[in-house]
């Protein structure tokens, strides 16, 4: 019993030290975003400045179309999340429940492409986008993200767990495959869909490379790219830069706190495929 207590205290100490290391930089970001520029350079560093300057948050939008970045990110992310939920659930249903020739090789091909690095696809995709004059439009970010092998895989795994008795009953009632998908599999898979949705949201909201490659115009930038462009120009104005950082992170933290279990499930599900 006593040994257990010692081990538990050790565990707490390890976890606490780690947690402080994880949280401190965020705390520091928030505190810096509320300081005056001169106070940033005070040594030793203080957590709070003399006054709390909310006005730094207003200054961002004076210099950058931050609300436009925000709306762009929101628009693109929502479209991609909805599209991937539809396409992945349809494909997941087909690969788990319908029987047709060539199903397994096709699914194998899907899985195999998960191993190909995005950089391999990036170059031809850029060439094609340029050919169709889609560079510097949101289409270049949305189109390649409408379909996902990972999402297909994730939902297929889930659909496989749905008992086939339900399927047989539906067939007996004259349900078409689409009817079965729509009336049985979609309602049953809400948690799995939520998990995928949250995961895709995170990936799309944080995506940096694709906007960097495709978007040049300020008004079309997403939050990460906007923040990066801001960093280039105002690298010395730390409080304003930190305010932009806070704005970029906060929506994800809110979603994470609201949907923590789905995030965790997404990570563990993506981890389970190795076993």
């Amino acid at each position: 019993m006593k040994k257990q207590t010692v081990l538990n205290i050790t565990a707490h100490l390890v976890l606490l030290a780690g947690a402080v290391t994880m949280i401190l930089p965020f705390l520091w970001t928030v505190s810096t975003s509320l300081k005056q520029l001169s106070e940033v350079f005070v040594f030793p560093p203080k957590l709070f400045g003399q006054e709390i300057r909310w006005v730094n948050y207003l200054h961002i939008s004076d210099r950058f179309p931050f609300s436009i970045y925000f709306l762009n990110s929101l628009k693109i992310t929502i479209i991609i999340v909805i599209a991937q939920l539809i396409t992945s659930s349809l494909a997941g249903f087909v690969f788990s429940r319908l029987r047709f020739r060539g199903r397994d090789p096709l699914f194998g091909l899907y899985l195999a492409t998960m191993m190909v690095p995005a950089q391999v696809m990036m170059i031809p995709n850029f060439i094609v986008m340029r050919h169709y004059n889609l560079v510097d439009t949101h289409w270049s970010l949305i189109l390649p993200a409408l379909v996902s092998a990972f999402g297909t895989f994730l939902l297929r795994q889930f659909f496989l767990t749905v008992p086939s008795a339900l399927e047989d009953a539906a067939k007996m009632d004259g349900c078409t495959p689409f009817g079965m998908y729509w009336r049985i599999f979609v309602p049953l898979s809400k948690p799995a869909m939520a998990t995928l949705g949250v995961f895709v949201f995170m990936g799309s909201w944080n995506d940096f490379l694709a906007p960097l490659v495709y978007i040049n115009t300020q008004n079309k930038m997403t939050l990460p790219l906007g923040l990066a462009s801001m960093q280039g120009m105002y690298s010395t104005d730390w409080p304003v830069l930190m305010a932009g950082t806070v704005i970029t992170i906060i929506p994800l933290i809110i979603i994470f706190l609201l949907a923590q279990d789905f995030f965790i499930k997404g990570v563990t599900l993506s981890g389970l495929k190795g076993e």
């Binding site: 780690g18 965020f26 970029t248 923590q260």
Partner: protein, 318 residues
């Protein structure tokens, strides 16, 4: 079976006749009479997207890697020249070793830390939810935001890191502008960002180990470190295997971290393959050369996966 299939076939009598002539009818009809038509219909968006943005680009990139093309002049076939040039390109050799350096340090170190945290979190302790959330905070944050914060932390004059080091009597270096310290700094940030992700996967693996093994070990008089080495580590090996492969694959592709924190500098000391690839493709429009790099990257990932699977097979006793 359902009217839609038949009308679809009736509308294409010419194709049907041609198929009949080629002796394909029965196969075709069988295919359609099963779920084939429905599958095709429901998979249509996926197949189109998959063809247009994955399969064709993968093949296109492979073709491009044997050409020299700047997107203005006509495509020139150069055979394996791009690959031959990569081996001679000093910058590529440098970024190749930088990538190995990054992966070789960040993967093992990140694994040890995340396993340690997962083992601590797997105990029956309080505040589990808080710890889990704290470690997951960096995982959900965008890399751009993380890079901004860490550049500030690494600042030699007013950054937090050197302040803490100063308290210990250590004069910290100018992290991001030193050719020897920039890479360790980038690695540290990357581990900090990803440790929560791996920790959760390890945690799921640990929870899959049955309590009875530990009880049996205890009856044999095993102490906690015996239990860790002789029960936890071997039984966790499928998870460890997965995390290793994924971490290597992820760190071979590192880009955001480097691009945002150091732009590959100083003196290319933090430039990695994807960074050099990005420059070649989207700054200088050397599309063929960049494609060859993408395939070298693919090959590296392939090798790691093969090695890991081979290793896994060899010790698949668990």
């Amino acid at each position: 079976m359902n009217t839609e299939n038949h009308s679809g076939l009736a509308g294409n009598e010419a194709i049907y006749a041609a198929a009949k002539q080629a002796g394909l009818t029965s196969t075709l009809r069988k295919w359609f009479q099963k779920d084939g038509a429905w599958a095709l219909l429901l998979l249509l968006p996926n197949i189109l997207g998959f063809l247009a943005f994955t399969l064709i680009p993968v093949l296109g990139s492979f073709m491009l890697s044997f050409t020299s093309w700047d997107m203005l002049s006509p495509v020139k076939w150069v055979g394996v020249d791009n690959y031959a040039n990569l081996v001679k390109d000093e910058t590529f050799i440098k970024v190749f070793w930088n990538t190995i350096y990054f992966a070789g340090v960040s993967v093992p170190l990140g694994m040890v830390i995340s396993l340690l945290l997962a083992v601590a979190l797997d105990r029956d302790i309080r505040f589990k939810k808080f710890y889990r959330a704290a470690y997951f905070l960096p995982v959900v944050s965008s890399m751009v935001a993380v890079a901004v914060v860490w550049q500030f932390i690494y600042n030699p004059e007013y950054g937090l890191l050197n302040y803490f080091l100063g308290m210990l009597g250590i004069a910290g270096p100018n992290w991001l502008t030193s050719t020897s310290w920039a890479m360790p700094a980038v690695i540290l940030t990357s581990i900090w960002k990803n440790v929560g992700f791996n920790m959760l996967i390890f945690l799921a693996g640990l929870q899959g180990i049955s309590e009875s093994y530990y009880e049996a070990a205890e009856l044999d008089g095993a102490r906690w470190h015996h239990k860790f080495w002789y029960v936890t580590v071997p039984l966790l090996s499928p998870t460890t295997f997965f995390v290793t492969v994924m971490s290597f694959i992820g760190s071979f592709q590192v880009f955001d971290t480097v691009f945002l924190m150091t732009q590959g500098g100083p003196a290319r000391s933090t430039s990695v393959i994807v960074h050099y690839l990005y420059e070649n493709a989207f700054k200088y429009f050397n599309m063929g050369y960049a494609s060859a790099m993408a395939y070298v990257l693919f090959f590296m990932m392939f090798i790691v996966t093969v090695i890991q699977f081979w290793y896994q097979k060899k010790r698949s006793a668990y």
